[in-house]
């Protein structure tokens, strides 16, 4: 991977299966029923169970660490959550190098699903090998 301003990192494409948010709830400890209970989610006005925002952020993080050669490269990641993510629809993380300075690449990224951006304004700092 050649990190220079304007370069695109490889897209990360993930389709969470029907029960992903249940496994993520267990793995993360966040059992908010809007993520795991279809009836509850609908009762509070959502179209259905929604993905955890921090799961979608973890996909953005993974796109960065896979491109930069491992977990030690990721020094900072900030994101904004706006839309909602859903199970069984493909999520695509796209990442573009904004600048490289002193061996640190600043990358701008987003995650979208079916035309909706679910993670906005992601900015990562990657320490390059």
């Amino acid at each position: 991977m050649n990190f220079e301003a304007g370069a695109q990192l490889p897209d990360l494409k993930v389709t969470p299966d029907k029960y992903l948010s249940v496994r993520y709830a267990g793995a993360s400890g966040d059992y908010n029923p809007i993520h795991i209970d279809e009836e509850f989610a609908k009762a509070v006005g959502l179209p259905g169970r929604i993905l955890h925002g921090l799961f979608s952020m973890a996909l953005v993080a993974r796109a960065q660490t896979e491109a930069a050669g491992g977990p030690a490269s990721l020094k900072r990641l900030s994101v904004q959550f706006r839309g909602m993510g859903f199970p069984e629809q493909e999520i695509v993380v796209t990442s573009t190098v904004a600048r490289v300075r002193d061996g640190v690449a600043t990358v701008h990224a987003l995650a979208e699903q079916g035309g909706n951006v679910i993670v906005h304004d992601a900015e990562a700092e990657l320490e390059l090998p």
Binding site: R23, S28, L54, A58, R62, S78
Partner: protein
């Protein structure tokens, strides 16, 4: 209803989280990690780590027990029915490895209202057993109609 900013600056007791191998693996699998450092003990050891390495976003796991009391503090006063997770930032130090004991402290950094929307910002600082800061988290929750 006016937003109370009384809780700004409030800190909560530090919470220690002991990082376990199978918890790291469970988390890594849930988020689809493919790097053997998170899944294969021998690969992690061959790379110079004592055991499985936690993915950076595992910060949500070791910080969670410390975040709970702050998020649910009636003194902070978030209305959960109208709350969404608005933004998140993590800044990482050394990698967290299975066997680490990570201590997290949480502070209420900011409470403010903009156009009827409440912004509640918390900071978590997580430190390992060697005194290194492994992660600083900035957690922004948004509450509509404050």
């Amino acid at each position: 209803m006016a937003l109370s900013t009384d809780a700004v600056g409030k800190t909560y007791p530090p919470v220690t989280y002991a990082v376990g191998r199978e918890k790291v693996r469970e988390y890594a699998l849930a988020v689809g990690e493919r790097d053997p450092l998170h899944l294969d003990v021998e690969a992690a050891r061959a790379a110079g780590y004592a055991d499985l390495v936690a993915p950076p976003m595992f910060a949500v796991v070791y910080a969670a027990p410390a975040m709970g009391p702050a998020i649910f503090d009636p003194h902070v006063g978030m209305n959960f029915a109208l709350m969404v997770h608005g933004g998140q930032e993590f800044a990482w130090g050394p990698l967290v490895v299975t066997g680490d004991e990570v201590v997290t402290s949480v502070t209420v950094k900011r409470i403010e209202e903009r156009a009827g929307v409440g912004f509640f910002v918390f900071e978590s600082v997580s430190t390992n057993q060697d005194g290194h800061t492994v992660c600083v988290g900035t957690w922004t929750n948004i509450v509509q109609g404050v």
